[in-house]
Each structure stands twice: as structure tokens, then as C-alpha cells.
């Protein structure tokens, strides 16, 4: 009888205590999942601890050689011991949102990096709720209000300009977009892809418009430029990939500046010398891509740590210089020692979103040579609406113009 009483009390006690124990850890877990900033997440030490406990981070459509993302991935993995899974590195923004909407829980990305034009109705579920959860990084105020959601649902990360990439054997070396009509370039000029599907190609057409009498509100001259280039035989309608360059299908391409360092390194491996130059007749800085945290993120702490990392303005250790001793430091100490994402992207020839603030503070690294926009050159940056208007024109006219 007594034994039963003791067992009964033990069971009752555990029944009373257990729910609150699991509830508090569940609360802790869900608290992080709704934390809208670093403070609510408990500070950097707590965030790093929680992220390490999650062990993984799911990112999506991030090519390693895109804006030096590979370095960001390597540094993060090495510093915090968190494994990064990258779903479909060559995918599209539409793919990212589609994945959030339909993939099973195990395949959900934690964070996305999408084109800014995809932050409208596309980024909502069937009930009109946002797919993202709000989070404002520690350096939130250094992001221009043009390129972030007021509630913290999404925020610009980096942008790029259009460069002319060309093989060193090309002579004379092109310096501006108008040069590309030179008959010496017959069969040499290519675009990154289809302007109705790929942002790089679309922005290239936009840049060509600026160089040929168009404006941020008139993209048709860009389409006409390529139509004329096709007629003269200069434009070769092959996608400007690394493999196609290697096989000599094209020698000159309009390309994102931040694909430069990776492409040049790749070309060197196969014995070719690739060069990049900012066209002197159209320095177009495209609207930035944006980051967002998935509302259904399976690794809430790792997602937030990754965002803080990407928006850190620190100069410091790279994936090659992080030591095991460093990884044993406390979360905030380690974080402070790492090279931040903004500088990692700058080294990839991208324009990090906080570039202006960092230049003022003197915390911006020196970008790689050859990718800077020459001093005094006028730069153009289309607004969201101008991009949408241009997109509709390109969609309607591109195929018939270049047939």
C-alpha cells in the first residue's frame, strides 16, 4: 500500500513538473522563433549557444562563386560548427518562394535571398500572410529605408553593377557598351541568359538602354541595341556560362560585377585570362537582393545568427585564418573577431547594402581592383517601379527583336 502511495506521489509530482519543464524548453524554442531582434533573442552569447545546439542551417539557391558567398559559408561553418545545407544553388527566386509554400518541413529553408521584385504578393501565402518572420539585425539603421520593409520582414543585402567581361585575347579591349558594335567582335558578344528569366541578363539590357539614349524609364533602346548587334553578327545568342566561355562559344559578355572574381579564378584554372571592366557609358547599380527569415524556419537561432553574421560590418578573421582556439571563445567574442558578411561581399566585388555607412565609419575593406566604378562616373539606380515597367517591355519585345 505504501509503495503504491510513493509511486503515486512520484507520478503525480512528475506529471506536475514535467509539462512545465518541457513547456519552458518549448517556450525557449518558440521564443527564439518569434524574436524580432538580437535583444529579444537573449543577446549574442545566447543566440550563438542556441544556434550551435541546432547544428544546421538550411539556405537555398546560393551559388558559392556569387559575391564571394562561398567564403561566407565556409567561415560560418568553421567558426560555429554549424553545417550549412544549400538547396539547388542555381535556382531562382521563384523556386525559393515555391519551396517555402509547398515543401515538407524537413526541406524548408531557414533564410532566403531573393530579388526585391519578389517581395510583393508572391511572398504571401494563400491567406495573405507573409511567408517571412520579422527580424531587425543589430545594424538595422544602416540599411536605407528604400530597400527594407518597415516591419523587418525583408531587407536589402547587396547589389551589383553590370560589367563587361572579356577574354584577354580580344583586341581592342572594350571599355564601354557602345564599343560592342565594333565589327572586330563578330560572333563574340553574349548575355548571361534570357532577359525575361534571368536578372543578370535583364539588367544588362537595362544598362545597354542607358548607353544608347535610353533612360531608367525607357528600356526599349537596350532591346534595339541587341537586335542590331544580332543582325550585324556580333551578338551570339548563347548563355554566357563558364563552360561555354571555356569552349570559345563567346569571348565578351555583360555580367554582374560580383561574378567577376569567381569567374576570373575559374578561367585561370583552365589557362585563360578573363578581364572585367565597368563600362564608362553606363554604370548601372541594380536594386539589391533581399534577405528574409522563413516563418517556418526549422532552425530559428541559426537563421538569426546567419543574418547577424551577414550584416556584421566587422573586419577580421576569414575561413582561412580562424583557429580552433577561436572557436572555443564565447559567442559574442568569437562573433566580434570574424570578418562580417558585408565585407565578405565587398571582397566579392558586390556593393554591400551598408556600404555608405561603412565608408563613413572607415570599416569597409578595399574592394578587389578593377571592379570599382571610376571616380566621378555617374551611376544609375532604377527604383522598384522602374524595374517592373522595364520588365514588362522586355517580356513583350525581346523574342521578336532578337529572332
Amino acid at each position: 500500500m505504501r509503495k503504491h502511495l510513493i509511486v503515486g506521489v512520484a507520478v503525480a509530482l512528475s506529471a506536475a513538473v514535467l509539462p512545465s519543464v518541457t513547456a519552458s524548453s518549448a517556450n525557449a524554442a518558440s521564443a527564439i522563433c518569434t524574436a524580432p531582434n538580437l535583444q529579444a533573442a537573449g543577446g549574442m552569447d545566447a543566440l550563438v549557444k542556441a544556434a550551435k545546439a541546432e547544428k544546421q542551417l538550411n539556405i537555398i539557391t546560393v551559388p558559392r562563386d556569387w559575391a564571394n558567398y562561398g567564403e561566407a559559408i565556409d567561415a560560418f561553418q568553421k567558426a560555429f560548427g554549424i553545417k550549412i545545407n544549400d538547396d539547388n544553388p542555381d535556382g531562382s527566386s521563384a523556386y525559393e518562394l515555391q519551396t517555402i509554400k509547398t515543401a515538407p518541413a524537413s526541406k524548408q529553408p531557414d533564410v532566403v535571398d531573393i530579388g526585391i521584385t519578389h517581395t510583393g504578393a508572391e511572398a504571401q501565402d494563400s491567406l495573405g500572410r507573409s511567408l517571412f518572420t520579422p527580424y531587425k539585425v543589430a545594424n538595422w539603421k544602416d540599411i536605407s529605408t528604400d530597400w527594407k520593409d518597415a516591419n523587418g520582414l525583408w531587407y536589402g543585402d547587396y547589389s551589383g553593377s553590370i560589367s563587361i567581361a572579356y577574354d584577354s585575347t580580344v583586341s581592342p579591349a572594350p571599355t564601354k557598351i557602345a564599343d560592342l558594335t565594333n565589327p572586330a567582335y563578330k560572333g563574340m558578344v553574349a548575355l548571361g541568359g534570357d532577359p525575361t528569366a534571368a536578372t543578370e541578363a535583364f539588367t544588362s539590357v537595362f544598362a545597354a538602354a542607358l548607353a544608347n539614349g535610353g533612360s531608367l524609364t525607357n528600356v526599349q533602346p537596350g532591346i534595339d541595341f541587341f537586335a542590331a548587334l544580332k543582325k550585324s553578327g556580333n551578338f551570339v545568342s548563347v548563355p554566357a556560362t563558364g563552360a561555354n566561355y571555356a569552349s570559345g562559344a563567346y569571348k565578351i559578355a555583360l555580367s554582374w560585377s560580383y561574378n567577376g572574381p569567381g569567374a576570373i579564378a575559374s578561367a585561370a584554372k583552365i589557362g585563360k585570362t578573363l578581364k572585367y571592366v565597368t563600362p564608362s557609358d553606363a554604370a548601372l547599380i541594380a536594386p539589391p537582393y533581399v534577405q528574409a527569415i522563413n516563418a517556418k524556419a526549422p532552425h530559428c537561432a541559426a537563421a538569426r545568427l546567419w543574418e547577424e553574421f551577414l550584416y556584421s560590418q566587422n573586419k577580421g578573421l576569414t575561413s582561412k585564418t580562424i583557429t580552433t582556439a577561436d572557436t572555443k571563445l564565447s559567442g559574442s567574442a568569437l562573433f566580434a573577431k570574424l570578418q562580417g558578411g558585408q565585407n565578405i561581399w565587398a571582397l566579392g566585388a558586390a556593393h554591400p547594402i551598408m556600404e555608405a555607412a561603412m565608408k563613413t565609419k572607415g570599416t569597409l575593406v578595399t574592394p578587389p581592383a578593377g571592379f570599382e566604378i571610376p571616380k566621378g562616373q555617374k551611376t544609375y539606380s532604377p527604383s522598384f517601379d522602374q524595374v517592373v515597367a522595364a520588365r514588362d517591355v522586355v517580356n513583350k519585345n525581346w523574342a521578336t527583336a532578337t529572332a
Binding site: P63, R64, D65, G70, D86, D87, N88, P89, D90, G91, Y95, Q98, T99, T102, A103, P104, A105, S106, K107, G242, A243, A246, S247, G262, A265, S266, K269, I270, G271
Partner: protein, 254 residues
């Protein structure tokens, strides 16, 4: 056997058409830092990749299952259609050509929205879809092969000679539809080994998708991997052709 000039000329011309592109790309895959130096560097790089065997096995496993599904599903169906349900053939032809006509991108979106979570959480979902994607080809192969055989006559002859259904199937039907089945198996195998778009859109990792992600910064390695994939698929089919399917050809010819 008369030596046929036509045959050998055709084979040579065909060979040029097939091996010129393949050979040009293969030459590329042997390059070592430029067009003048050649080595096996890219292929050694492939074999050094830690996940190489893992993803190869994943794809092989999914392929085998897809091919088994295809045989079990398609062969009895097409035989039955020809024997007893001729009037339904037009409907089947239309239905089976649809997976070809609907772009994979659209099919993937439909699958993602429609399939239950438990189905989308297993990679065997891919085998089921491979069989669907192969259906236009496998159905056509079986259908055209069986249509040209007087299957109904042969079957009735066998039955009227006293054979029961089991013997009729084993000794009359199966040998006679053999080459059609082999063709269907080959197409289903090759398709499943190389299927890429649907796999990516359904968020799975198989050998073809692994190839793409691993070769992001290694142009020559990427090309070597695609050459390797083609050569490996060819090897698999040759082995199948000379072993499992090879044995009793002489007997059937009599």
C-alpha cells in the same frame, strides 16, 4: 552473310555524328590547365569526391525501382490492351503522351501542391515519378512492338493447341514481345539515370543534381562528370544487353 556496303557506310556516318560531339567534349574533359596539356586530372578529382559513391548508389537504387515499376505496370497493360481491349488503345495513347507534353516544371508544381506530406518526405517519390516520365516512351515502344505482332492469333493458336494461360504467357507471349520489353527497359533506365529537372524541383539530391552542385567552380570537372555519366549509362546498358537479355536470342530466332 553478304557484306553490305550500305550497312557499313551508314554505321560510319552514324558513328561520326554520334562520336564527334561526344569526343570533342571528352577531349575537353582530359584537359589539364589549358588546351595543350592532357591528363586524367579531372577524373581523379571525381573519384576523390567523398559523396561520389553515395549519390551514384542513390541514383542506381531509384533507377532499378523505377524500371521494375515500369515493367510490372506497362507490360501486362499493353499486352492486355492488344489482346482484349483494342478499343481503349487510343485513350491510352493520349493519356501516356501527356507526361511528355506537360513541361516538367508544371508537373513539379502540381506534385508539390497535390501530394501528401508523407509521400513528399521519401525519395522513392522520385521512382514513382520517373516511371511516369518514362511512360510516353515505354508505352510507345511496347505498343509499336506488340502491334506489329499477330499476338491475338498466336495466343489463340496456343490456346487451341491446349496450352493453359500460364504456358501461353511464358512460352508464347513473353518471347515474342521480348525486344519491345528490352527497348522499354533501356529507355526507362537511361531516363531515370539522368533525370535532373524534376529531382531538383522536388528538392532531392541524386547523382545528376550532385554533379551540378559539385562542379560549380570546376568547369573541366563538370564536363568530365557528364562524360562519365554517359559512358557509365552506356556500360550499364551494354552489360544488360549481353548478359540478362543476351542469353537466349539464338533460340528465339528459330
Amino acid at each position: 552473310m553478304k557484306r553490305s556496303l550500305t550497312l557499313y557506310t551508314t554505321l560510319i556516318l552514324g558513328g561520326i555524328f554520334v562520336f564527334l560531339p561526344f569526343g570533342s567534349a571528352a577531349e575537353f574533359s582530359f584537359r589539364d590547365g589549358g588546351a595543350n596539356k592532357h591528363s586524367l586530372k579531372a577524373y581523379r578529382w571525381i573519384l576523390e569526391q567523398p559523396d561520389f559513391v553515395h549519390y551514384l548508389l542513390v541514383t542506381l537504387k531509384l533507377t532499378v525501382i523505377a524500371v521494375v515499376i515500369t515493367i510490372l505496370l506497362m507490360v501486362p497493360t499493353v499486352v492486355w490492351l492488344h489482346l482484349r481491349a483494342q478499343s481503349l488503345r487510343p485513350l491510352m495513347e493520349f493519356l501516356t503522351i501527356l507526361p511528355l507534353v506537360i513541361p516538367v516544371v508544371a508537373l513539379a508544381i502540381g506534385a508539390q501542391s497535390a501530394f501528401p506530406t508523407w509521400l513528399q518526405s521519401t525519395e522513392y517519390e522520385l521512382s514513382l515519378m520517373f516511371a511516369v516520365l518514362a511512360m510516353p516512351y515505354t508505352y510507345r515502344t511496347l505498343d509499336t512492338g506488340i502491334a506489329a505482332i499477330p499476338l491475338a492469333t498466336l495466343t489463340e493458336a496456343a490456346r487451341s493447341l491446349g496450352a493453359n494461360w500460364f504456358n501461353t504467357i511464358i512460352r508464347v507471349i513473353l518471347p515474342v514481345i521480348r525486344s519491345a520489353v528490352i527497348g522499354a527497359v533501356f529507355i526507362a533506365t537511361a531516363l531515370s539515370l539522368g533525370e535532373f529537372t524534376l529531382t531538383v524541383l522536388l528538392h532531392w539530391d541524386t547523382f545528376p543534381t550532385w554533379v551540378t552542385s559539385i562542379s560549380q567552380q570546376n568547369i573541366v570537372g563538370a564536363i568530365a562528370l557528364s562524360i562519365f555519366s554517359l559512358a557509365a549509362a552506356f556500360l550499364i546498358l551494354i552489360i544488360l544487353n549481353f548478359t540478362i537479355f543476351g542469353a537466349r536470342t539464338k533460340k528465339v530466332e528459330e
